[in-house]
Symmetry: C2
Subunit: 295 residues, 2 copies
C-alpha cells in the first residue's frame, strides 16, 4: 500500500477516523484492509495528546473539535478510534449530532463483544487512567454477559514507551510484566489503547500461551463492514484515498505513522486550535526559545 | 512541618508557586526551607498535565490562566516552578504583566547559573520534549559562558515513572541509564523537570561519582531570598501558611503531594477551567461511564 506523497482533495464523503495521536492509525490499517476502496481522513490530535490523564471537560472539548473538523471536511461517519474518548465522550458526541445525517461510532462496544465472544469468564483490560476510571468497558461487558468477570488496570507507562520507540527493550518487558501482575489470572486480555498493539510481541512473551491477547481493531473493522451493509448510504463512494491530519509536530507524526499504519502515510496536513476550533494551519520550523504571543 | 488539615484564608500577599502538576512541590519545599515565614499558594495544573508534549499555544493559554488565578488570589509574585513553562512562556507572561506591580520569576536562568558555576565545561540537561526543543537552557548557559558545551536530552518516560511511584524499580534504573547514554560524557547533569529529583537515588547509582548531579530547586530558592533582599516590598508579610490548589483529581494529588513536599499538605482545593479561566470548583466523585455535557 504505497501512498502519494501529496495530499489529494477528496470529492467523496470520506470515513473519518479520529484518535488523540497516531495510535489510531493501527485501527485505520484494519479498516483499510477490509474496506480498501473507501476514502479516509485520519485526524490525530497529537499536539494535545495524551488525553488519558486529562479532565473530562477537556476531553469533551477536544473530542467535539476533532469530530467537527472531520465533518467539516466532508465526512458523514466518524470512527472514534481512541478508547479514552470512546469510553467517556461517545454518547456526548452522538447526542450533539443527533437528528443529523452524521454518525459517530466507537470502539468500546466492539471490544466488549469481541472479548465476551472469546472469554471463558475472566477478561483483563488495560487502558489509560481515564479509560479505566470510566469503567465503560466493564459496563458494556456486563450488558452482554453479567457472569463474566472484568479486571481493568490503568497502564499509563505503556503509551510513552511506544512513543519512545522502545517496544523492544527490557523497560517495555518489565513494565508489561508489572501491569500484568496487577491484572491477575485472566483468560483474555484486551489491549484497550491504540498504542498497545505495537507491544504485542512483548505481551505474547509475558502471557501464558492459553491467554487470548485481543487487539480490538480487526473486530472494529468487521463491525464497520457489517454496519455499512445495513447503512450503504453512508459509504464514502471513494477510491481508496487517504488524507492524514495532525495537530502536533508533523515531522514526528510522519516518522511514527509508518510504524502504526504499516505503510508510508501521505504528507501530513497540520491543524491547530484557534479560539476553540481546529483549523488548518501552516506549520513552520519548531520554534525555539521564549515564545511571546502578540495579543 | 505539619500542616493544618483545612485551608486557611490568607490575609497576606502569598508567594504563588505554579507547576503543571505536583512536581513543583519539590521547589516549594526548598522555598519554605529558606523562607519559612512567607505564606504560599501552590497551584498544580494536574488535570491538564503533562504540559511537556503540548502545542506552544496551549502551554501559553494554560500558563496565563494559572498565573491569573494566583494573582486573583492575592499573590504579587509567582514562581514558575515548571521548566516547560519557564523555558517557553516566561517572557510571554512577563510581557503580559509588564508595567504592573506583579512579578513572575522562572527556574531556567537560576538553573543555568547554578550549572555554569559548578561545571568544568560540559553540562547535560534532561527535561520534557518541549523544554528541550526550546533550547532555552542552552541559550541561557551560552549567555553566561559561551565556552561551556550543553547536551540537552528529552526524557519523556521519567515523569510517568515517578507518577506511577516506580522510582525504586529496574524500569526506573534502565530508563535513567538509557537517557544518560544519550547525554554522554558530561561533568554536570541538570534535572530539568520537577519530577526528576524523586529519581535522585537512581541517578546517583547510574552516574560516575565525579559527575555533579544538580537539582536546581535549592539554588532557585536562594535566588529568591536574594531577590527579596532587593525587593522587600514584595515579601508576603505572612506567617508560614500554605494553600494548595489543583485542577485534577484532588485525592490522587494529595497522595502524591506528600512525597514531593516532604510533609503532609493541607486539604487540596479544586479548580477547573470554565470558559478559558481557572475557577474554584467543587469536585464530586470521579464520574464513571459516558459523560454527557448539557450545552
Amino acid at each position: 500500500m504505497s501512498e502519494s506523497p501529496l495530499p489529494t482533495p477528496l470529492s467523496s464523503h470520506p470515513i473519518g477516523v479520529f484518535d488523540s495521536g497516531y495510535g489510531g492509525l493501527s485501527v485505520l490499517r484494519e479498516l483499510r484492509r477490509v474496506l480498501p476502496n473507501e476514502d479516509y481522513i485520519y485526524l490525530g490530535d497529537s499536539g494535545r495528546a495524551p488525553y488519558g490523564g486529562r479532565d473530562l471537560a477537556t476531553v469533551l472539548d477536544f473530542a467535539e473539535q476533532c469530530v467537527d473538523l472531520l465533518f467539516a471536511e466532508g465526512c458523514r461517519v466518524v470512527v472514534v478510534a481512541c478508547h479514552t474518548v470512546s469510553c467517556v465522550a461517545l454518547r456526548h458526541l452522538q447526542q450533539l449530532h443527533a437528528g443529523t445525517d452524521r454518525r459517530i461510532l466507537g470502539v468500546t462496544i466492539p471490544a466488549a463483544e469481541n472479548a465476551v465472544a472469546v472469554s471463558k469468564g475472566h477478561i483483563g483490560f488495560l487502558g489509560t487512567r481515564r479509560t479505566v476510571s470510566s469503567h465503560t468497558f466493564r459496563t458494556e461487558v456486563a450488558k452482554l454477559d453479567s457472569h463474566v468477570k472484568v479486571t481493568e488496570v490503568a497502564a499509563p507507562l505503556l503509551a510513552p514507551i511506544v512513543e519512545e520507540g522502545w517496544e523492544d527493550s527490557d523497560i517495555a518487558r518489565l513494565s508489561v510484566e508489572q501491569y500484568l501482575s496487577q491484572v491477575g489470572d485472566v483468560d483474555t486480555l484486551v489491549l484497550g489503547c491504540t498504542h498497545y498493539p505495537l507491544l504485542r510481541a512483548v505481551f505474547e512473551q509475558s502471557l501464558p500461551k492459553e491467554v487470548h491477547l485481543l487487539d480490538p481493531a480487526p473486530y472494529v473493522a468487521l463491525r464497520l463492514v457489517d454496519w455499512f451493509g445495513r447503512h450503504p448510504e453512508f459509504r464514502s463512494q471513494g477510491t481508496g484515498k487517504l488524507r492524514v491530519l495532525s495537530s502536533g509536530d508533523t515531522v514526528r507524526f510522519a516518522k511514527n505513522a509508518t510504524r502504526f499504519l504499516g505503510s508510508v502515510p501521505p504528507l501530513i496536513e497540520h491543524v491547530a486550535e484557534r479560539n476553540g476550533r481546529l483549523i488548518f494551519s501552516p506549520e513552520g520550523e519548531e520554534p525555539t526559545g521564549q515564545f511571546v504571543r502578540v495579543v
